[in-house]
Amino acid sequence: MSAPTLQDIRCCFEGIIPAVVATCSAEGVPNVAYISQVFYADERHVALSFQFFNKTRQNILANPHATALLIDPGTAQFYRLHIRYLRTETEGPLFEGMRAQLAGIASHTGMQGVFRLLGSDVYEVEKIEALEGDPLPAPPRRNGLLGAVRRTSERLARCASLDEALTAVLGGLNDHLGIRHAMVLMLDPAAQRLYTVASCGYATSGVGSEIGLGQGVIGVAARERTPVRIGHMTNAALYTQAMRSSFDANMPDHEPVTDIPYPGLAQPHSQLAVPIQSGGRTLGVLFVESTEELQFSYEDEDALVAIAGHLGSAIELMQAANEAGDAHPAPHVPERPVTPAAAVPLVVRHFCANDSIFLGDSYLIKGVAGAILWKLLRDHRQLGRTEFSNRELRLDPALRLPDVSDNLEARLLLLQRRLVEQGGGLRMEKTGRGRFRLVLERPVNLVET
């Protein structure tokens, strides 16, 4: 049997059957210990979870040579890894990825509170042996993941707006990868928060709900710019997104009235969050979850990273195109006559303090998107305008939009979707690249507070 690569044996790194590691003291006394996690770091490195100050720890600091025994949980094929200790990481993507996975393993094995990651011990892999034996036949390989990525990618390539792109990605995950619960969150770099712009498979869309950077599986993936994958339900508070409200109760910016509920599953058994990046910047997070254990393998992670990469590039390109929107006037889309109902006008209330907007008594939106809507409504009242461009919003000093790294298109999409969900008779319609129209189906009464 030719020597396998780390890539070939990634199924051994799920922590389903614990690995064992042998070390040796400087005095020549061997030691053997179970290890909760052998984590795939890259093609030539693995990281072992450092959870306790034990003999293994003492030994590798004195003698860096170690040998790990891994088993394929599907076939019982054994692999022996000859490894050499290099360093310990206590923060960063590798550490956070391991910490999240360990929280899942701990909950699964009843070891919450006992398993705690103190560090990621990084080892160079010197040799991998596939041991002789009588393993079970390998289960049939999952076919079609690459095809699923391709089809999702094709759908994405046909999109001309962020709205379409997000629909294409969520549709692709559902149709081609069998993923039923998914959401896309965009990063607000100034506020250090992520806001939901699209979701599927939940009772409520949760569009507009927010998560702090570093909070939960999603927040950690964004902060550390690394995929975070948990294969078991975890009770570890750090990874429980649904706890948001009680978590943030002590935060100064917490306002229950303006808190759109997080849409995710109350008890996810598998979670995978993948950062959406482009040009070295984090734009947001693609998040999927399931009610089943071990639903997402490293292969699903590979697929989602590829899709998130394509989505990241698409978002950047669309934003660039929309910012230049005025240079390419779109074909005129005739305005449909709107007959404002003679009925009661809609009271739109704006609170300066946080730019929150209420339609009647219902909370709509706050922050940048709130400020944008208020500007549109005021321009409509004072100047009778209904046609707007992304570019003018970007350039409007009164809006104090964050720098270009902020995704205006995502803010507008969020606003557009919230307006549709609230059904107050206000709408935004896209009329061309970087252009849109404000539609008022009934008279509005603007109130500044």
Binding site: A22, P30, Y34, K55, H65, T67, I71, R80
Partner: protein, 161 residues
């Protein structure tokens, strides 16, 4: 001198739980393998672990050359784990008299592993061996350490006197 082991621990070991064997070579490089069987005398003083040679060539060489052995016994369903160490051992080829020991061990492990969610075929594949390829390693534990995950992990058990 043999280290005395708590009776309930010996009971667990006698019943048959996961066994991993380690040693090291002259340059202090460690090696390890899962045992395909174990036999623990009721007094916990004489322990035999069985290795499949084709999976453990270097390990068997290291054990023979150095006499150093480290073994963990671990109950998968409870994580209860103990590590035993010795600096003297003897080795022999397994013979037909060992068959009942190996079979009993496999049956015990099938039950154990089933409790953590894996069907017997996986356990059988994990412990697969050919008798003529199996080596029996016998030793008397000189040191024992509690290795159950938690704050007491690493605590020596008993005393070497």
């Amino acid at each position: 001198m043999a280290v005395p082991l708590p009776p309930d621990l010996v009971t667990m070991m006698v019943r048959g739980v996961s066994v991993i064997v380690a040693s090291r070579d002259a340059t202090l490089r460690p090696n390890l393998m899962r045992a395909v069987g174990s036999r623990v005398e009721e007094d916990g003083r004489t322990i035999t672990v069985y290795l499949s040679r084709r999976q453990s060539r270097q390990l068997v060489q290291d054990l023979a050359a150095t006499g150093h052995i480290a073994v963990v016994f671990s109950e998968p369903s409870t994580h209860r784990t103990v590590q035993l160490k010795a600096s003297r051992l003897d080795m022999r080829n397994a013979d037909p008299q060992d068959i009942p020991v190996l079979e009993r061990y496999r049956e015990a492990m099938e039950l154990e592993i089933q409790q953590v969610g894996f069907a017997p075929p996986l356990t059988r594949a994990m412990l697969a061996h050919r008798l003529e390829d199996v080596v029996a390693v016998r030793f008397t534990p000189e040191q024992a350490f509690d290795q159950t995950p938690g704050p007491r992990a690493g605590t020596p058990l008993g005393s070497t006197g």
